[in-house]
Structure formats: C-alpha cells, structure tokens
Amino acid sequence: MKKTTLISIAISALVLLTLPQFLRNYGIYLLTYWLVFVLATMGLNLTVGYAGQKSLGHAAFFGIGAYTVAILLKAGISWWIGLPAAAVLCFVVGLILGFPALRVQTIYLAFATLGFNTAVWLLMRNEEWLTGGTFGINNIARPGLPGISLDGNLAYYYFVLGVTVLLSLLLWGLLRSPWGKAFTALRDNPIRAESLGVDIRNYTLLSFAIGAVYAGIAGALFASLVQFIEPAPFAVAASIMMYLMVVVGGPGYFLGPVLGAAVGVVLPEWMRDAPGVADWYLPLFGAAVVVLMVGLPDGLLSLPDRIRDRKAARAASAARAQAAADAAGAAQGAAKTGAM
C-alpha cells in the first residue's frame, strides 16, 4: 500500500477514535448519526454506483431493518437476534426488488423502486398492530454487551464505529475480488458483459440484495440510536436524500458515501449553527448541492481524477505545441540550408 494511503488511514483512525472525546453529547450523537448513514449509503453506492442500477427506494430497507429490530425487541427477542433477522429479511426483499431490474430499464426501474418504497412506507403507516402506525415504536433499547452498557452516547458511538468499519472492510474485500470488475462491467456495458460470460442476472439481483443488507443493518443501528422510530424517516424523501448523498460523494468511489453522508447529515447541521445563517441554512444547502453537482458531476471524490485529467490534457497540448514549434524550426533551418 502506498505510504500516503497508510498515513491517511492512520490519521482518519486517530480522528475517528479521539474526536468524540472533545465533543458534547449532541456532537457525539450527530457523529453516530453520520456513521449510520455512511453504512446505509455504502449499500446504495454498491447498487447504484458500482453496479449501475437505479434505486430510489433504499430508505425502505433502512426502515425494514429498523422496524425488524424494534418489533422483535418489543416481543422480548434480543437485538443480537434482531440484527441478523433484519439482515436476512433485507437480503431476501432486496433480491425480490432486483427482479424488476431484470426486465425494466433505467428510469422505469427508478420508478419501480419508488413504488416499492411507497408500498413499504404505507405498510409501516397503516399496519398499527405491527408497527404502531404513525405513533411508531418507542423505548427501543440499545444492544447489550457483556459488561458494557451502550446506553451512553459515547459508548454507542464506538460500537457503531466498530460495526461500520467491519462492514466497510467486508465490502472493500468484495469489491477487490473479481466481483468488483463484474459489477463494473454490468454497469458500463451489460450486453457486452453478458457476451463475455458475466451472469448479469445474478449480479444485478445481488447488487440489490447486498445493498439492502447494508441499509438494513444501518437501520437496526439507527433504531437503537434514536430509540424511537416512526415511518417518516423511511419514506421516499429519505430515499431521495440517500441517493443525493451517493451522487454528491461520488458514485463508484469507495469512500464516496463517507463524504456524501457528511454532506447530507452533518453539513446542514453545521450550517444551521453557523453565525448569521439561521433560517437560510436549508436554501444554502440546496444551493451548495446545485453548485457541487455542476462543478463536479461525478461527485466530490472525482476531484483528484479531474485534476489529473486536466494536467494530462495540458501536458499533451504543450507537447503538441512544442512539437509544432520544433517542426517549424526544423523546416526553417532546412529552408535556410536549401537556399544557400
């Protein structure tokens, strides 16, 4: 691994581990909130950024994860059983959502995922016997660890950090394996990919399923973080925000969700607290998103590539100019000798 990469990892680890010690309760809470969304949008980045699918219903899986854990807790079942249950349920539902993706393309797939999100949201809202309807579920407990209480915000932050890092490493491993190239092939040219033996059917289904699992686990963590859930954070608007986070961060870049979730979750809060901003934090946020998109359409993490491309282009045109000058000089020289 490059030295610069190692140093960056070391610094990030240091910051993530020590920063909360300097923050007040709300700051720690916000940081945890950000981590949860990093995890959720990592899943979406796989589906949309790496595999090139359209998914505007990701928040539904977030909600399925949250409600699964919450409902099971209410029934006296441990969080540690609720978590894998949420993961499995999301995997299965994600697979099912992948099937329309096989038959329906681009924008119509986006609509289908919107429809799916809507259906799940309606279920959450109306099935009071199961989900508490609009009243939601409250008093959601934190997971129990032997000897350690996660009730404090700081302790829970470290727990969520651990889970997020672990799952990120797993995803990293997956993307570095041949699966990573298969997903990219699926994204860039599915017809060609199929003619080379890439099973685009299976990879499409799995891109939805795995993405869903990440959102589901994030949802479980979310439920215990906020300790009260109701259908609103899992509606279409939330899916659209998650999509925004992936695109702003940089689809197909592994750390895109880290930046994207920061922009989507942390940035508005910072802006709200900035002096003089007050009610203008939302319109400024919206404007910032527009400017970001026009300036960096491939996302924030595309900046280094862009700079590199521009340097290469400049070097290439400089080389051409030089070559032209040399040729002109040589021709002149030849003309002179010829004329003598």
Partner: protein, 252 residues
C-alpha cells in the same frame, strides 16, 4: 467425416413481412476461418445475432460440437466456448485495458461464490499481459479503455473475445472504421491466433466483413449471402471465379 464445430441448418428469421434470413445452412470445421460476405441487408447481422442467442430464429437449428444450442442465450453460449466482437465498439470505457481483458475471462473459472475469495485478477494477469504484448498495446495497457484511439480500442475488443480461449469466435466487421494501415495488422493477428496459438486451443472464426481484400486474404472458406439466402460457399478462389457472385455483389 470430422465433426463440424458449428452447424447451421435451415435457419429462418422474419421481421414482420421481411424475411431477413430465409433458410441458411452451412458448417464451420474446427480450426477454420469462415467468412460471411454480402450486400447490406442480406441478413448477415440477423444470422449472427441468431447464432449468438441474441434473437431466437423462427425455424432451423444451430449445433455447436453436435449439441443443439438454438434456444440458448448469449451467456450460455459464451460458457460453451463462443466469443464475439460487436460491430459498434464495446469495451468497458472506465476500466483499464488490462482489467477489460481480465473481466473478459474471469467468469470462466470457479463459481460466483468461489470468486469472492479469488485474487482480484483471478490469476489472469499473466494471460492478459501476454495478449497485450501480442496485440502490441503494451504502451496503453494501463490507461482507461475509453481513452484509447478507435483503432486501439478495436484491438482491445478483439483481444477480449480471445481471453477465455473460445472454440469459436464471431467477429462482426472487425475492420469497420479502422485506419487502413491497421487492417493488415489485424489480419496478421487473426491468422496468428488461428494457426499458431500461444494457448493450447486453436480458435475458429466466423467473420463478417465488407473489406474484400481482407476477407479473401484471411479466410479459408467464404459464404456469400444475398437477400437472406446463401448464394455460394467456397474457397476465396472459387468465390472470386463464381459468375453469379460477381454479378450480384463483387460487381461488374
């Protein structure tokens, strides 16, 4: 009689009232380079797409090594050793050239599950490098495929088709849009891959092309299609001497 690698019998495909392919039969023997020529609209591309599982023929049979593969799709055909290039360039623009070659063969080893634990290049790095050297694109191998010139991308395209060591490669107008100076190079490459393989297998080709010199020079046998029917099948010399073909296509 040696078994044919590919046997097409009575293939028919109509689009509404238009009979694009109206009863085509031919055989390709192992190790052969088989050319398909004919005017535009003669049904060559429809024939190809049927052979590649992209469309299902109305009638007729396609056999690969004796197995009936008429109903199979592109994925199954590829798994059975059929590769192809496309008429319009189809490389993965955002991946490096080397990665393009790796992904072209990686799905042929192991199962999806086992591939999660395989190394990133599926141990295909050496093979990819060998093909890169053979195709003389070492100097651009590290670049993203989308950044290459058209001719270079064409070479990558062809190389990709060969990575999985297919028995049969279908080449759809490999010279289309390519600088004339490069055509000779492609011809040499293909002959090399056919006669003198680096890998143990000798690949057979079916080539659609309009560049007559290229086809006559490269192919062992040529089939002439006109209006969805086979007009003639023979060696280049036989085709060149065939009066019917000359009148209809090669032009008087």
């Amino acid at each position: 009689m040696a078994q044919s690698l590919l046997k097409v019998s009575g293939l028919k495909k109509a689009y509404g009232a238009i009979q694009a392919v109206g009863g085509v039969s031919f055989e390709v023997m192992p190790g052969e380079i088989f050319g398909v020529i004919g005017p535009n609209g003669s049904g060559k591309t429809t024939l190809f797409n049927s052979m590649l599982g992209q469309i299902t023929p109305d009638e007729g049979k396609i056999e690969l090594n004796g197995e009936d593969v008429t109903q199979l799709g592109p994925l199954e055909l590829n798994r059975r050793g059929v590769g192809r290039t496309f008429q319009t360039l189809q490389v993965f623009g955002k991946m490096s050239v080397r990665d393009n070659l790796i992904v072209a063969a990686q799905e042929h080893s192991g199962t999806m599950l086992s591939r999660i634990f395989a190394p990133g290049d599926s141990n295909l790095g050496a093979k990819a490098d060998a093909l890169i050297d053979r195709f003389r694109i070492r100097h651009v191998a590290h670049k993203k495929a989308g950044e290459l010139s058209y001719g270079q991308q064409k070479l990558v395209d062809i190389a990709m088709a060969f990575m999985s060591e297919p028995d049969l490669v279908l080449l759809d107008e490999p010279c289309a849009g390519v600088n004339p100076s490069l055509v000779g190079g492609i011809s040499t490459l293909l002959k090399d891959l056919n006669h003198n393989p680096q890998f143990e297998k000798r690949s057979s080709f079916v080539v659609i092309e309009h560049n007559m010199d290229f086809v006559m020079d490269l192919c062992h046998r040529i089939m002439v299609m006109v209006e969805g029917q086979v007009m003639a099948i023979g060696t280049p010399a036989e085709i060149r001497a065939n009066k019917q073909v000359l009148d209809a296509y090669l032009g008087n």
